[in-house]
């Protein structure tokens, strides 16, 4: 075997005093890290195969296992870090682009963590969500410019364009069937239904089994148009045109043929084993006018009954782009920040392209207000919403709702090992191998998603109550409820918030 210069990043530490050689680690590792030595009655491990997904750690009944970062190191160098050196070795060995998955892991600032939330004291009572109603119901979509009245003077309620109603301003972001498993999709769909929110098909079509969750489904139309047909468009509650994705702005998608099997192939409407390549741009959208045409084509196709979402990655001039989209007829704009996850992306793109969602959101919301069109369109943001405080901050900055995906996958068991591209997800999420897919029981998965979002809802209510706000709409764009900490003037200006203490 040629020397690859690479040393395993992680070490599997087994406590021999605890190991009872039950071999669950061996059975559960799709990477075949563990093996049993009959002669010695001992478990062994080959850490070069370990992706640090913790499947073995989590299932070990005696907690005999842990995975640690190796302390094996090159001569320390702040510039030429282990990671940088390793990547060079890898590329020198393969001649290929580096691929990664999930979101940008680099230590760029996380603005959510530099924003603080207000609370009431004395002059205004905080509200106790256990005693008073605390509302998180949210509508997404256009609002009519003026109300109309019937002949008898009552309000004409039918003049409302199609809207999405959410019990809590959280939706599951696009993840295609194919990139994630059937059971992951079922979990998301069932959770969305129980929660009264929406999940998103991503660009993988909608499996026939899931049409029954249509009322809680957003169907996506992306550059590859995989799985798009009339019934598909009509099945969902809304249609999302995906222009870009935070993890890889400007890049299309590539689902390897190995994952295009059986139902995945049928659902995508492409032959088994063929690579599913989504082009970088939509080849019928080279300009904003083209987008408008697609928006209206989709509206025509669905009789103007479904809101159309346009999803873009947060890039440098996102505010101007969003303004253009708002005028294209879209009902909802979804913006995906650079920390958004993915099943596979070129590492350099993932780590270096795009901007933080916090700044993008603040800029877009402000821009749409300046242009007086904020009420024509709803704003959904995603790209690493990690907890309920992030949501409160996003809404206060001006978002109508948030998209979560990485957090949802974590709820399903994802351990962020960032090896989705291998298709050997030990947690049954980013895989199509039947023996692995079955590891995610949707009965458990959907409940964990419901738990997560319900827990967040409780926390959102608690924080709202602290601010003396008892309905989420009074939080939307309420930037006075936020203060920055450790941010410079420019950052504060873009975020439209004051510094703590001001």
């Amino acid at each position: 075997m040629p020397i690859d210069f690479l040393y395993p990043e992680y070490e599997v530490i087994r406590n021999p005093q605890r190991c009872i050689a039950c071999r669950v680690c061996e059975r559960q590792c799709a990477n075949e890290v563990h093996s049993y030595d009959q002669e010695l009655n001992l478990m062994k491990s080959d850490e070069s195969k370990c992706v640090n997904c913790h499947r073995c750690v989590a299932l070990c009944p005696t907690r005999a296992l842990k995975i640690v970062k190796t302390d094996h190191t090159f001569k320390t160098n702040a510039n030429w870090t282990n990671e940088v050196i390793g990547e060079i070795y890898r590329q020198a060995g393969t001649g290929g682009m580096l691929l990664s998955s999930m979101g940008n892991p680099k230590p760029y600032p996380v603005y959510w963590d530099k924003i603080l939330i207000n609370a009431s004291q004395v002059t205004n009572p905080s509200i106790d969500p256990l005693r008073e109603p605390m509302e998180t119901r949210t509508f997404l979509g256009k609002r009519p410019e003026k109300p109309e009245r019937n002949l008898d003077g009552t309000l004409k309620t039918e003049n409302l364009p199609p809207n999405l109603e959410l019990s809590v301003p959280v939706m599951f972001s696009a993840m295609s069937y194919g990139s994630i498993s059937y059971n992951a999709h079922e979990s998301l769909a069932r959770a969305a239904q129980e929660l009264g929110i929406y999940y998103n098909t991503g660009e993988g079509g909608l499996h026939e089994d899931f049409y029954r969750y249509g009322a809680n489904t957003i169907v996506q139309v992306a550059s590859g148009r995989f799985g798009v047909h009339k019934d598909y468009l009509e099945a969902g509650a809304a249609i999302e045109i995906k222009i870009g994705q935070g993890a890889k702005p400007g890049i299309g998608g590539h689902l390897p043929g190995a994952k295009i099997v059986g139902d995945v192939s049928r659902t995508r409407m492409i032959p088994e084993g063929s690579d599913a390549i989504s082009p970088a741009p939509h080849h019928d959208i080279y300009s904003i006018e083209d987008l408008r045409q697609l928006v209206y084509s989709l509206k025509e196709a669905t009789d103007y009954k479904k809101p159309v979402i346009v999803k873009i990655a947060a890039v440098h001039n996102v505010a101007a782009i969003a303004s253009g989209i708002a005028r294209s007829g879209a009902d909802i704009i979804a913006i995906d920040g650079y920390r958004g996850g993915t099943g596979a992306a070129p590492t350099r793109i993932r780590d270096n392209v795009g901007i933080p969602i916090e700044l993008a959101l603040a800029a877009v919301d402000e821009r749409l207000r300046q242009e007086k069109i904020r009420n024509n369109v709803s704003l959904v943001v995603g790209g690493s919403i990690r907890n309920s405080a992030d949501i409160v901050k996003a809404i206060a900055l001006g978002a109508d709702a948030v998209y979560i995906a990485t957090a949802a996958l974590l709820a399903l068991g994802c351990h962020l090992c960032r090896s989705c591209q291998t298709g050997k997800c030990n947690w049954g999420i980013a895989t199509q191998r039947p023996d692995l897919v079955k590891r995610l029981n949707p009965d458990i998965g959907y409940k964990r998603l419901v738990n997560l979002v319900s827990a967040w809802q409780h926390e959102i209510k608690e924080m709202m109550g602290g601010m003396g706000i008892n309905s989420i709409e009074a939080l939307k764009g309420n930037r006075l409820m936020l203060r920055g900490i450790g941010l410079n003037e420019k950052e504060l200006e873009i975020l439209g918030i004051k510094h703590a203490g001001e």
Binding site: N124, I469, S471, A474, K476, N478
Partner: protein, 364 residues
Amino acid sequence: MRLEGDVRIPSGCAISGIFSRSGKKLNGEAIIRSISTMHDRSNGLGGGFAAYGIYPRNKDLYAIHVFYDSVRAKEECEKEIMANFDVTVAEKIPTRKMPIITDEPAIWRYFGIPFEKLLKDTQLDEREFVARCVVKINTQIKGAYVFSSGKNMGVFKAVGFPEDVGRYYCLDKYEGYCWTAHGRYPTNTPGWWGGAHPFAMLDYSVVHNGEISSYDANRRFIEMFGYKCTLLTDTEVITYIIDYLNRKQHLTLHEVADVIAAPFWSEIDRLPQKEKERFTYLRNVYSSLLITGPFSILLGFSGGMMALNDRLKLRSMVVAEKGGMTYVASEECAIRAIEPNLDKIWSPKGGEPVIVTLNKGVDA
């Protein structure tokens, strides 16, 4: 120290209102007596009144009340007023010298009506035209501040306790069918004359007690529609919201109340289908105009008055009736002080507006 407009100033307060449905005119004595009963709810940093029906001789003209900090401001402002309005009267508002009232600006009023030609040129509705002029002066002319701009009504306000402010403005000399009053308890500023309440826009005047937690959500939304919240006060944004919904969106005052103090979804979901749709529509379309946090407000408008509490009723407010009179105040004592023998007194539920208007045919 930064003044209103530089910094947001929440405040506690007292409010009181008297309304004669028959159009019977009262001078300002009663309302002063009423608001002074709640002296402890103010801290001397602002008091004010709105009175309707007080300018019967000029009732078809806009009465524009202005504070001036400087001669230059007055010159600049009058130039603007004269350029847009056919002004019939321009005069100093009579005041009574009082040692307790200090730092007085120059206080002027103008009765006039927009030039026809300008209305035609701008294709604006007369009231919209006036509103824009007011916003323009208040945002662009430093040292000038229009604090009243309706027809046959006027706002009188100053830094001081409300009873002193009332005497200062000689309110005993005015007679109106509707009076509202405000005593202010700002929490972090010495107050500024313009920042005192009522806050008025055209003939809408609002006195308010409370601190709304939805402020910035409301402000950033309403500012899309040509308003500029220069004072950063709750009362200002509430006034604009009411102006926007009632005057521009043509919602009824009841509907306005259903937007700003909307019923909870849990209540809406229980209603019959039609009603449910109506409330859902209003809450959805005007979601950013929901006002949360404690408030009790008294809205004065031509021919009527509306009292409204926040939906949780986090601020006290009572309403009483005696004959043709309706009284509203933060505290019952403020009503009893001027009318001990009431026909009826009650505390309206949160979010339930009490709207009184002149009896049919009454032209006050």
